[in-house]
Symmetry: C2
Subunit: 126 residues, 2 copies
């Protein structure tokens, strides 16, 4: 990428999302109240547009290859409060109010485990 573009992306006021070779950027959802990281998923242009237009977090399902409104079947939608953008514009943080558990397992957050000292997974209290 030309230096000029990199500079614009870092310092400019223009939103120029940088999608990867797979057409996706990374979305990190954090709880608007607790700031806890709830989930990580990916957005293509379509998912980004749908998220901004509806105020509900949408993603691109890599396994199903299509647009996905988080909570469309469970009702556990994510109401978007803010969208933060990183320096090189290839990742966003979606600050959202969750209508229910964010994880399909029923956990509040998908990050319900952490690595212990022995490299095993244990329940996280985070």
């Amino acid at each position: 990428m030309p230096e000029h573009d990199a500079d614009l992306r870092e310092k400019g006021e223009v939103f120029m999302p940088k999608f990867g070779p797979d057409g996706l950027l990374t979305g990190v959802v954090v709880d608007a109240s607790s700031r806890e990281v709830l989930m990580v998923a990916h957005l293509d242009q379509e998912a980004l547009d749908a998220t901004r237009e509806t105020g509900l977090a949408h993603f691109h399902s890599r396994s199903r290859g299509k647009l996905w409104c988080k909570g469309e079947t469970s009702g556990n939608v994510l109401k978007v409060q803010d969208i933060l953008v990183d320096c090189d514009q290839d990742a966003i943080v979606i600050v959202a109010e969750p209508a229910g558990p964010a994880c399909h397992t029923g956990a509040r957050s998908c990050f319900y485990r952490k690595l212990d000292a022995h490299g095993r997974l244990m329940e996280s209290d985070a």
Copy 2:
């Protein structure tokens, strides 16, 4: 992926990181004190091993195609406190104590801007 593997990944105690077709998983770094999201980067097996062995966050640079210790030149390393793992084990949250600004621009976090109502980027106070 067989249903069995998916089940093991979600419920088991065994860490079975799921790298994407590019050999990478997503790493979200949050500040151990404020819980603010500081940066998003990617890890391959080598970066994951180096992170766990040294206690300093390492990533795989997609542009340079090699292992990268965050802060190796600036000194702004990220001291790892915890590693959280998500349901399908293709993303981790690195809870870390930053030795300085996490962003190469000098900002505390890479997410120093947010989208305003008109789709422009403005400084974030998050």
